[in-house]
C-alpha cells in the first residue's frame, strides 16, 4: 500500500500509458481483448482518482501528494507532480470520461481498434500529467504530448475532412505553444530552475510580466478557445470521432482555462490584473457570439461545438473577474461543461451510429420511438443550459454573481448584463435543437424504428446523468475542495502591494469582507 500512497500521482498518470504499451505490444491484433483491457485500465485509473479524491484534504487548499525527484541538470529540472483542489477535480473528470469514452467506442469502430485504444490511453496520461505537473518543463512535455494522440484520433478515425481539421487543430495549438515556449525559456534563464514554486517567487518587472503573460495567454486562449481564436474547434469537432469530441470538449478545452488559472495568472499577477478587462470582454463576446452562431447551425455537432465556445466564455469571464465566486464558479463550470457537453457529444454519437447523419433537417419526432434516449438527452440539455438543480446552473450563477461584484473590472455590471443574455440564448438554441430532433412528427421514414438505448449505452450515460444531478444538488462537494485552492492560486493577484504597469493604485479585493465592511472606506466607488 505504501507504493500506492506514496506514488499515487505517478500511478494515476502513467497507468494508462502502461496499458497503451501493453496493447500495442501484445494485443495489436486482438481488438476485442484490447478494448476490454483499455476499459479495465481506465476503470482502474478512475479508482485511483477516486482514492485521490478521498485522500485530499480540502481545508488548506495546498498542493498535496507531492512527488519530487531530480530529473536532469542537477535537479533544476525536476519530475514534480502535485495535486491541489483545482487539479483534483480536473483529474477526476478526465478519469471519469476515460472509461466512458472507451466503452462508448466499442461498437462504432471497425478499423484499427487496438491502436485507437492505445491512443485514447496515451492521451489520458498526457492530460492527467498536464493537470498534475508542477515543473514547467514537465508541464510543457505533457502539454505537447497531448497533441499527438489527439491528432491521430481526428486524422485516422475522423470524418471526410479529417486531415484539414487535424492539421488545423495541430498548427493552431502549436503556434500558440511556440510563444509559450519562448516565455518558458525566458523565465528559465531568469530563475535558473523549472520549478513552479520558484517561478512564483520571481521578481519580474511589470513590462516583463505583460510580455510573458501575453505569450502564455495566447497559447492557452487558443486551447480554450477564446474568441476569435476558436475557428479550429467546430472543424475539429465535426470531423473527430465521438470519442475524440468527448475528450476534446470534456477535457482538452479545460487545459486552456486551467493553464490561465494555474500559470498565466499567478505567475504574472500585475499583467493578469491589467489584462483582465480585455479577457473578460473577449469572454463575454464568446458567450454571446458562440450562442448566436450555434443557433443557426444545421449540423448537431457543430451546434454543440459552438455552444462550447459560449460556455467556455463563461469560464474565462469567471476567472478574470478575479473574485472568489467568479473563479471558483469558473472551475466548477469546467467540470460541469465536461459532464454536460461530453454527454451531448456521446449522445450525438449514439444518434449518428443509428442514422449516419447529423443534419437537423433529417430528424424529427425521435422522442416517440426512443423515449429513454430522448429523456437522457433532455436532462443533458437542461444541465447544459443551466437549469437550477443540475450542474450547469451552479457554475454560471457563481461566475455571474462574482463578476457582478468585481471591483477589478470596469463596467462589471454591464458585462454581466450582456453575458447573462447567453443564458437566454442557451435556452433558445438548445431547445430549438431538441425540438427539431425529438418533437413534432417523424421527419423521415428512416427515423422510424430506431432502437432505443442499448445496455452498453446505458452504462455510459447513467454515470454522467448521476453526476449532473449530484453536482447540481450538492455542489459543495466540489466547491469545498476547489474554493480554498482557487483563493490560494489567486493570492498573488489580490496581494495589496501589487504594482501594476501603469502604477495605478489597486482596488481592494472584494471578498476581503472584514476589510471592506469593518474597516470601511476602501470600497471602490
Amino acid at each position: 500500500m505504501a507504493l500506492v500512497s506514496d506514488h499515487i500521482l505517478s500511478l494515476v498518470t502513467f497507468l494508462p500509458l502502461a496499458g497503451a504499451l501493453v496493447i500495442l505490444l501484445c494485443l495489436a491484433r486482438r481488438p476485442t481483448a484490447a478494448g476490454w483491457l483499455a476499459c479495465g485500465v481506465a476503470l482502474a485509473d478512475l479508482g485511483l482518482a477516486v482514492l485521490l479524491w478521498l485522500g485530499y484534504d480540502p481545508v488548506p487548499g495546498t498542493d498535496q501528494f507531492v512527488e519530487r525527484a531530480a530529473w536532469f541538470l542537477g535537479g533544476r529540472v525536476q519530475y514534480h507532480l502535485a495535486c491541489d483542489g483545482i487539479s483534483l477535480v480536473l483529474v477526476l473528470l478526465t478519469a471519469l470520461l476515460g472509461p466512458l469514452v472507451i466503452l462508448s467506442t466499442k461498437s462504432s469502430l471497425s478499423q484499427r481498434v487496438p491502436l485507437f485504444m492505445a491512443m485514447a490511453l496515451f492521451l489520458q496520461t498526457a492530460m492527467i500529467g498536464t493537470f498534475l505537473a508542477r515543473d514547467m518543463l514537465l508541464f510543457y512535455v505533457f502539454w505537447e504530448l497531448m497533441l499527438i494522440p489527439m491528432y491521430f484520433l481526428i486524422g485516422i478515425w475522423g470524418g471526410p475532412r479529417r486531415i484539414y481539421a487535424a492539421v488545423k487543430f495541430f498548427i493552431f495549438t502549436m503556434a500558440g505553444s511556440v510563444f509559450m515556449l519562448v516565455a518558458i525559456l525566458y523565465c528559465w534563464f531568469k530563475a535558473g530552475t523549472m520549478d513552479l514554486g520558484a517561478w512564483l517567487a520571481l521578481d519580474l518587472t511589470p513590462t516583463e510580466q505583460l510580455w510573458l503573460f501575453a505569450a502564455f495567454a495566447l497559447a492557452f486562449a487558443i486551447k480554450v478557445p477564446i474568441w476569435p481564436l476558436h475557428t479550429w474547434l467546430p472543424d475539429a469537432h465535426v470531423e473527430a470521432p465521438t470519442a475524440g469530441s468527448v475528450i476534446l470538449a470534456g477535457v482538452l478545452l479545460k487545459m486552456g482555462t486551467y493553464g490561465l488559472l494555474r500559470y498565466a495568472m499567478p505567475l504574472f499577477p500585475a499583467a493578469a490584473v491589467t489584462a483582465a478587462p480585455v479577457l473578460a470582454v473577449l469572454g463575454v463576446i464568446g458567450i454571446v457570439f458562440g450562442a448566436l452562431v450555434a443557433w443557426v447551425q444545421t449540423d448537431v455537432k457543430k451546434l454543440v461545438a459552438y455552444s462550447s465556445v459560449s460556455h467556455l466564455g463563461f469560464v474565462v469571464l469567471g476567472l478574470f473577474s478575479l473574485t472568489a465566486q467568479g473563479a471558483t464558479g469558473g472551475v466548477f463550470q469546467m467540470l460541469a461543461h465536461g459532464l454536460s457537453t461530453g454527454g451531448l457529444f456521446l449522445l450525438v454519437g449514439i444518434l449518428y451510429e443509428r442514422r449516419h447523419t447529423r443534419e437537423l433537417a433529417d430528424f424529427g419526432g425521435l422522442a416517440h420511438g426512443m423515449p429513454a434516449y430522448a429523456s437522457v438527452f433532455l436532462i443533458t440539455t437542461l444541465a447544459s443550459i443551466g437549469l437550477p438543480g443540475l450542474c450547469g446552473f451552479v457554475g454560471e450563477f457563481l461566475i455571474l454573481l462574482g463578476t457582478f461584484g468585481s471591483s477589478q473590472l470596469p463596467h462589471a455590471k454591464l458585462l454581466v448584463a450582456v453575458a447573462a443574455t447567453g443564458v437566454i440564448l442557451g435556452a433558445i438554441y438548445m431547445l430549438w435543437m431538441y425540438q427539431k430532433v425529438f418533437l413534432g412528427p417523424l421527419g423521415s421514414k428512416k427515423n422510424q424504428g430506431l432502437p432505443d438505448l442499448a445496455l452498453r449505452e446505458w452504462f455510459v450515460l447513467v454515470p454522467l446523468v448521476v453526476f449532473m444531478v449530484w453536482l447540481g444538488v450538492g455542489p459543495n462537494l466540489v466547491l469545498a475542495k476547489v474554493g480554498p485552492s482557487v483563493e490560494r492560486v489567486l493570492e498573488p493577484l489580490t496581494a495589496p502591494g501589487l504594482v501594476l504597469p501603469h502604477g495605478d493604485p489597486r482596488p481592494a479585493p472584494l471578498w476581503a469582507v472584514p476589510a471592506v465592511l469593518g474597516g470601511g472606506g476602501e470600497v471602490a466607488p
Binding site: 525559456l185 528559465w188 437550477p388 470601511g520
Partner: protein, 745 residues
C-alpha cells in the same frame, strides 16, 4: 423572526418521489398493470403533502405571530462570502401559498385521472404533474432567493414539458418552447436583480446611529466606526436569526435581506445607492418584476400564456391558472419590504397590472376557443393581482390569488369537462345547449363565472372589490390623481370580465347543440356530448363550493365583520406596513365603489345574456358580418390579439435570427477566412524556401541560412501531415537550448 423546526422538506419531497417513480418505472408498469399503478401513488402523494401542510399550518397558527417554521436540509453552495442552504421556511405567507398549491393541485390530480384516461403517455403526464408540484412547493417554501429560483425555473421546465405533452404536433412543441424562452427572459431579470441586491447590500455602508441627517453619508464615505450594536431596538428579530446589525450579507435568505434592509443603521446607505440614475432598490425591484412579469404573463411578456393552452386542460388549470402563473405575484408579495420602499417600482407594478388587466380582458371578448377565453381571463386576473400588490395591498393580492385559484381552476376544469364531452372540440361555436347534457359541469361553471364576475357574496366579489378599492384609495403611486386612473382601467376590465365570462357560459351551455352535424360524421362517433365521469365532477363540485364560499374568510372590514385573512397575513407584511399610504377617500367612497362593482358585474352579465343567450340574438352575427371598416378593423385587431405576436416575431425573433446568420457568416468568412489566409501564406513561404533550399543553397548548407530553411521544411512537412518529425525536431531543439542554457549558466 422566531424559527421553529418542522420537517417542511417532506412537503415537496413526496411529490418528487412520485415523479421519480412514475418517470423511471411508469412506462413499464403501465404496460403491465394498466393505469391504476400510476395514478394511485401520483394522486395520494400530493394529498399527503396537503395533510402535512395542514399540520404545519396548524402548528404555525398555534405559535406566535412572528414565528416561522424552518427546516434546513443541507448546505448547498458556499464560496467565499456566499453561503446558501437548501432550507425551507413557512411563514404565514408561504402557508397560504402551500395550502392553495397542495389543495388545488391534489384536486386537479384527481380530476386528471379521468381526463387523461387511455392516453398512452399517462405515466409521463403524472410524472410531470408530480414534478410540477415538487417545483412549485420548493418555490413557495424556499427560505432564500436561490432555492426559490430552483423552483422558479423548475415550474418553468414542467410547464415546458406539459405544454408540449402531445409533442407530435409541432404546434404544441413550439408553444412549450416559447413558454420556456419567454420565462427565461423574465429569469434574466430575476438573476440580475438578485446580483444587484446581493452586492448592493453587501457593499452598503454601515452608518452609526446618530441624528438622521448624518446617516446620509455617501457610499464609500468615511464611516470608520465599527458596526452598530445588534441590540438596536428597531431590530428585535436579529438575535433570533443570528443576524447582527453590522454583519455583511452572506446568504441570500429572505429573512436576512429583510433584516438588513430594515436595519436603521444601513437603510439610508442602501437607499442612497444609485444604479443607472435610479435608486438601487427601484432597479432591483424592476428587475425582479421583469421576472414576475415573465412567470405571471404580464405586459410585455404575456405572449406565452395563451399559447400554453396547447397542453392538456388539467395542466392549464393547475399550472397556467391556479398556481405557477401566480408565482410572480407571490414574489412581489414576498419582497414587499423592497417594493414598498420604492414608489417608482410600486407605480410600475400597479400600472402594468392595471393595463394588463384591461388589455387581456378586451382580447377575451372576441375569442371563440373556450380555453383561449379563459387564458386571456387569467392574464387579466393576474393583472388585478399585480395592481393590488403595486398599491401595497399585499394581503389583497394574495387573497385574490387564492380565490382566483379556486374559481379559475373550476372554470378550466369545467371547460375540460366540456371539451371531453364534446369529443375534443374547443370552439364554442360548435357547442351550445350543453346545460341539459352536462348539468353538473354547467352549474359549477356558472357558479365559478359568478365568482370571477364579482357577484355579491361570491368569493371573487370580496377579493376583486377590495382590489378596486385599494387602487382607488392608494396614496403611494406617482401618478396624477394617485390611483384613480388605474381604478378606472381595472373597473373597465371588470366589466369586460363579467361580459366575456357569461358570453362563454351562454354560448356553451344555452341554446341548442351546434356541434352534431359536421363533427359527428367526421369522427364516426357522433354521439351527443355526455357528462364527465364522477371522479371529474366531484372535483368540479368541490372547487365550485370553494369558488362560492372561499371569500368568506376575508369579509370586508367595512361591513364590521372580521377579516380573518387579513389578520392572518398581517404579521407577514408588517415590515412594510408603515410605508403604505392611503389617500383617505373615506367610507362613503368605499360604499359607493362597492355598489358600482356590483352594478358592473350585473351589467356584464346582462349584456352577455341579451346578446348570447340561447344564440337567438342576431346582433353579434350581424356585427361580425358588418362591412363597415371601423367595425371590421377594430374586431380584427382585437380578435388577432392586437398583432403583438406578429410584431414580436418580426422584430425580436427574426431580428435575432438574422443577426445570428450574419455572425455565422462573419465567423466563416472573416474570422476563419483570416486563419486560412494565414495558412496559405505560410504554405507559399515554405514552398519558396523549399525551392531556395533545392536550387540556390543546393546542399552546401550555409550556417546562417540553415535555421530558416529547416523551419520552412518542417513547416512544409507539417502541412503534409507528418507531425512526428516536427515534434521530434521541437523536442530536440528544446533540449539543445536547455543544454546551451546550462552551459552558459
Amino acid at each position: 423572526m422566531h424559527l421553529e423546526h418542522f420537517p417542511l422538506g417532506l412537503i415537496p419531497l413526496l411529490p418528487l418521489l412520485g415523479a421519480v417513480y412514475a418517470g423511471f418505472f411508469g412506462a413499464r408498469l403501465q404496460r403491465r398493470w394498466r393505469e391504476p399503478v400510476i395514478y394511485w401513488p401520483a394522486i395520494v402523494l400530493p394529498w399527503a403533502s396537503f395533510v402535512i401542510t395542514v399540520v404545519a399550518v396548524a402548528k404555525l397558527a398555534g405559535a406566535g405571530h412572528h414565528t416561522a417554521l424552518y427546516h434546513r436540509a443541507w448546505s448547498w453552495l458556499s464560496v467565499g462570502s456566499l453561503q446558501v442552504d437548501v432550507a425551507f421556511q413557512m411563514d404565514r405567507l408561504s402557508a397560504v401559498m402551500a395550502l392553495v398549491v397542495t389543495l388545488v393541485g391534489s384536486l386537479i390530480h384527481v380530476y386528471s385521472r379521468g381526463y387523461m384516461k387511455d392516453d398512452p403517455g399517462f405515466w409521463r403526464f403524472f410524472s410531470n404533474m408530480n414534478l410540477f408540484m415538487f417545483a412549485m412547493l420548493v418555490l413557495v417554501l424556499a427560505d432564500n432567493f436561490l432555492l426559490m429560483f430552483v423552483g422558479w425555473e423548475g415550474v418553468g421546465l414542467c410547464s415546458y414539458l406539459l405544454i408540449g405533452f402531445w409533442y407530435r404536433e409541432t404546434k404544441n412543441a413550439v408553444a412549450g418552447m416559447k413558454a420556456f424562452i419567454v420565462n427565461r427572459i423574465g429569469d434574466y431579470g430575476f438573476s440580475l436583480g438578485l446580483f444587484l441586491l446581493f452586492w448592493g447590500l453587501f457593499l452598503a455602508p454601515v452608518v452609526t446611529t446618530g441624528d438622521p441627517g448624518d446617516r446620509l453619508a455617501a457610499p464609500g464615505g468615511p464611516h470608520a466606526a465599527p458596526a452598530v450594536d445588534a441590540a438596536e431596538p428597531g431590530a428585535p428579530a436579529a438575535a433570533d436569526t443570528g443576524i447582527h446589525g453590522g454583519a455583511p450579507l452572506t446568504s441570500v435568505t429572505f429573512r436576512e435581506v429583510q433584516t438588513i434592509v430594515e436595519d436603521p443603521a444601513r437603510r439610508d446607505g442602501i437607499l442612497g445607492q444609485r444604479v443607472l440614475g435610479a435608486g438601487l432598490i427601484t432597479v432591483v425591484c424592476l428587475l425582479f418584476f421583469l421576472g414576475a412579469a415573465g412567470k405571471s404573463a404580464q405586459i410585455p411578456l404575456y405572449v406565452w400564456l395563451p399559447d400554453a393552452m396547447a397542453g392538456p386542460t388539467p395542466v392549464s388549470a393547475l399550472i397556467h391558472a391556479a398556481t405557477m402563473v401566480t408565482a410572480g405575484v407571490y414574489l412581489v408579495a414576498r419582497l414587499h419590504f423592497l417594493f414598498a420602499a420604492s414608489a417608482a417600482a410600486m407605480t410600475v407594478v400597479a400600472t402594468v397590472g392595471a393595463l394588463t388587466a384591461l388589455f387581456a380582458a378586451t382580447i377575451g371578448l372576441f375569442q371563440y376557443d373556450i380555453k383561449k377565453v379563459l387564458a386571456y381571463s387569467t392574464v387579466s386576473q393576474l393583472g388585478f393581482m399585480f395592481l393590488a400588490a403595486g398599491v401595497g395591498a399585499y394581503w389583497v393580492a394574495i387573497f385574490h390569488l387564492m380565490t382566483h385559484a379556486f374559481f379559475k381552476a373550476c372554470l378550466f376544469l369545467g371547460s375540460g369537462s366540456v371539451i371531453l364531452g364534446c369529443h375534443h372540440e374547443q370552439d364554442m361555436r360548435k357547442m351550445g345547449g350543453l346545460r341539459k347534457l352536462m348539468p353538473i359541469t354547467a352549474v359549477t361553471y356558472a357558479l365559478a363565472a359568478c365568482a370571477i364576475a364579482g357577484f355579491p357574496f361570491f368569493s371573487g366579489f370580496f377579493s376583486k372589490d377590495e382590489i378596486l378599492w385599494k387602487a382607488f384609495d392608494s396614496g403611494n403611486l406617482l401618478l396624477p390623481g394617485k390611483g384613480i386612473a388605474l381604478w378606472a382601467l381595472a373597473a373597465a376590465a371588470a366589466l369586460c370580465t363579467s361580459f366575456y365570462m357569461f358570453r362563454s357560459y351562454f354560448l356553451t351551455f344555452t341554446g341548442t347543440y351546434r356541434g352534431g352535424q359536421d363533427a359527428g360524421h367526421g369522427h364516426g362517433h357522433g354521439h351527443a356530448p355526455h357528462e364527465s365521469p364522477r371522479s371529474m365532477t366531484v372535483v368540479l363540485v368541490v372547487l365550485a363550493a370553494l369558488a362560492v364560499g372561499g371569500g368568506w374568510i376575508g369579509l370586508p372590514i367595512l361591513w364590521g365583520l372580521p377579516n380573518r385573512f387579513e389578520q392572518w397575513l398581517e404579521p407577514a407584511f408588517a415590515g412594510s406596513h408603515h410605508l403604505i399610504e392611503s389617500a383617505h377617500r373615506g367610507h362613503g367612497a368605499e360604499w359607493g365603489l362597492m355598489a358600482l362593482s356590483v352594478a358592473i358585474a350585473i351589467a356584464g352579465w346582462f349584456a352577455a345574456r341579451w346578446l348570447f343567450r340561447d344564440g337567438k340574438n342576431p346582433i353579434p352575427a350581424r356585427l361580425l358580418a358588418s362591412s363597415r371598416p371601423a367595425v371590421r378593423g377594430v374586431y380584427r385587431t382585437v380578435f388577432n390579439k392586437y398583432y403583438v405576436d406578429e410584431f414580436y416575431g418580426r422584430v425580436f425573433v427574426r431580428g435575432t435570427r438574422q443577426l445570428s446568420e450574419l455572425l455565422a457568416r462573419v465567423d466563416r468568412d472573416v474570422v476563419d477566412g483570416l486563419v486560412n489566409l494565414w495558412g496559405s501564406v505560410g504554405r507559399v513561404v515554405s514552398d519558396v524556401q523549399g525551392m531556395i533550399d533545392a536550387h540556390v543553397v543546393d546542399g552546401a548548407v550555409n550556417a546562417i541560412g540553415a535555421g530558416s530553411v529547416r523551419l520552412g521544411r518542417s513547416l512544409r512537412r507539417l502541412q503534409t501531415g507528418r507531425i512526428q518529425s516536427y515534434v521530434f525536431g521541437l523536442t530536440t531543439g528544446f533540449v539543445i537550448l536547455v543544454v546551451i542554457g546550462y552551459l552558459l549558466a
